[in-house]
């Protein structure tokens, strides 16, 4: 492992900001550290960079314990949400400031981020996107073992965000630098990261490849945080294939087995875009009535009420009329089951 976080805990006064967090980054990997604000992400960044001494736990770089080392001798480069380019230095001077002795010349880094023509400019003269790229170049010029990106896109507007996200992707692949990408935005994280570490209240809530976590979230929190969810109360009625009862109806999910014994009440987490409205009955659909339709442009958010009164959210690409009686079809693959006591509301 290039970077190893081992049992990291940190308290501010009596407040436990980070609680026994462990994960690692393989050489060349880009990992997304994802969670809502206040989940401890920033504390972890500060501890890895060496600006904060954790209450407990170890941080290892290339196998060497660096927990007590000062930031300047760690080989960890950081890009923060807000620009930290030095106003009183030109772009080239900013990059040269951190240049490793045996590294490529400044010109190579200017070229890497396409800022050759701006090398004599001061940061205030750059556009927002150019500032971000200059900052990436400065961080990379130290030839770091690990690049920490702390919400590098959060201060940008939509168009710029997409541009810089692609730029980070390209630069990371070109340089192969081991990268920890910290964000509260699930779409940024899923688009960029090889693996995700999802945090909740200072602890790790889930680790895995983005698609796996999205489709089989280990907890309701991860389900909610990685995308919109809609929930359904049901009871396990039979195993193999998994069969759920919802009031008088039954849902049969071919090819799935339940992790819960028959008779257990469960909460199903569903993805609105995986649900479809089809009047033809099949074994994994429930009768329902359209109660609300919101046009959000790229699709319609259709809310349907089941016979139990419970409401489900369905994303449809076509308009539906309120009051229509139809059926909502639930593909087996996209259902995540949790015991009721696991289901806390998202923050």
């Amino acid at each position: 492992m290039m970077l190893d976080i081992d049992g990291l805990s940190h308290r501010y006064g009596t407040e436990q900001a980070v609680d026994d967090v462990s994960f690692g980054l393989a050489d060349g990997e880009i990992v997304g550290l994802l969670g809502p604000s206040g989940c401890g992400k920033t504390t972890i960044v500060q501890a890895i960079a060496g600006h904060l001494r954790p209450t407990e736990g170890r941080i290892r770089l290339r196998g060497t314990d660096v927990t007590a080392k000062p930031p300047e001798s760690r080989g960890v480069a950081v890009v923060f949400q807000q620009s930290t380019l030095f106003d009183h230095m030109t772009v080239a001077e900013n990059i040269a400031y951190g240049l490793a002795d045996d590294a490529d010349p400044v010109a190579d880094y200017l070229d890497l981020v396409s800022l050759t023509n701006q090398q004599a400019a001061y940061p205030a003269e750059l556009s927002g996107g150019q500032q971000r790229r200059a900052e990436l170049a400065r961080a990379l010029a130290t030839d770091p073992d690990v690049l920490l990106l702390d919400e590098p896109l959060s201060a940008l507007d939509r168009a710029l965000r997409t541009e810089i996200r692609a730029e980070i992707d390209r630069i990371q692949r070109e340089t192969g630098v081991t990268t920890l990408f910290v964000t509260h935005d699930q779409s940024d994280a899923m688009a960029l990261a090889d693996r995700l570490v999802v945090m909740q209240n200072g602890a790790v809530a889930g680790v895995g490849e983005p698609r796996t976590l999205y489709e089989s979230p280990p907890t309701p929190f991860v389900a909610d945080f990685l995308g919109r969810s809609t929930t359904l109360q049901a009871t396990v009625a039979a195993q193999q294939p998994l069969t759920l009862s919802v009031a008088d109806s039954r849902l049969v999910f071919d090819g799935r087995t339940a992790e819960f014994p028959t008779g257990t009440p469960v909460t199903c987490y569903l993805r609105p875009e995986a649900l479809t409205l089809e009047p033809q009955p099949d074994t994994s659909s429930l009768p329902c009535e359209v109660v609300r339709v919101v046009d959000v442009g790229r699709h319609y958010d259709v809310t349907v009420a089941l016979e139990t009164g419970e409401e489900l959210l369905v994303e449809q690409s076509t308009q539906s009329a309120v009051g229509t009686a139809t059926r909502v079809s639930i593909p087996a693959r996209t259902v995540s089951l949790f015991a009721p006591d696991e289901t806390a509301p998202p923050e």
Binding site: P70, T84, A100, R138
Partner: protein
């Protein structure tokens, strides 16, 4: 759109502005350039100008060299007793200068251990240029500390963290990053300290009635010759104050 809405406060405020404008205009119009130049060339005035221009820069230098590091520590550090130090630094600003002078005399006056030892060594701390510097530093020093501290506090810590992660140690980071980024506030603080040191009167009068600085000479000349005797030195100090204002704003 709100302009007429401000009529009542504008009238009250305008009265106050007049109260500051009238003495300024009256003072400036009472004298001419020729009188000022002539008045400044009397022996007593020349000595006072020389003494002020010797002491105020030294006091400013001492306050800057010691005060800017203190400002940095107060802006970035957190430690026991920080609160007490902060209060101690602000104290000279709210303590009347005569009381400040009296406090200094109890510490370094000629009958105190420190003062007596210094006088024996041939460097008297009262009624000497050194005494003037001590008084000016005590009264004017807090300005550079407070202003620089605000300047350092407005530099986001992440700039310093970025410099550290780029391979620079804490002192190199202060020198390369924190000082340049806070330079506007530091310069303003230095200028304010210089202005306050140059105009220091109450504490100087207590600690060093002699040798005369420009403010103490103004007082002595006023007793002897009334308002017209002090116009040249007064206009000179006022001019410096106006220049200082221009620099700060």
């Amino acid at each position: 759109a709100d302009q007429p809405a401000l009529l009542v406060p504008a009238i009250l405020g305008g009265l106050f502005v007049c109260y500051f404008a009238v003495p300024f205009v009256a003072f400036v119009s009472r004298t001419g350039i020729d009188n000022v130049v002539a008045g400044l060339s009397t022996p007593a005035a020349r000595v006072a100008v020389r003494n002020s221009l010797l002491t105020a820069p030294v006091a400013t230098l001492v306050a800057t060299v010691l005060g800017v590091p203190l400002a940095y520590v107060l802006a970035r550090g957190s430690f026991r007793g920080k609160r007490v130090i902060e209060l101690l630094i602000v104290l000279p600003l709210v303590v009347p200068p005569v009381v400040g002078g009296a406090m200094l005399l109890t510490a370094v006056g000629q009958f105190t251990p420190i003062g007596a030892a210094a006088a024996d060594a041939g460097v008297p701390l009262t009624d000497s240029l050194l005494g003037v510097v001590l008084a000016q530093t005590f009264v004017a020093g807090p300005f550079v500390v407070i202003t620089s501290r605000a300047g350092f506090a407005s530099v986001d810590r992440r700039f310093e963290q970025a410099s550290r992660s780029l391979g620079y140690g804490p002192l190199a980071t202060v020198w390369n990053v924190s000082l340049p980024l806070a330079r506007g506030a530091i310069i303003a603080g230095v200028v304010l300290t210089f202005a306050r040191a140059l105009g220091e009167f109450g504490a100087t009068l207590m600690v060093a009635y002699n040798p005369r600085t420009m403010p103490t000479q103004i007082w002595v000349a006023f007793i002897g010759g009334g308002i017209d005797a002090i116009l040249p030195l007064g206009v000179a100090l006022l001019s410096v104050a106006v220049v200082v204002l221009g620099v700060i704003q």
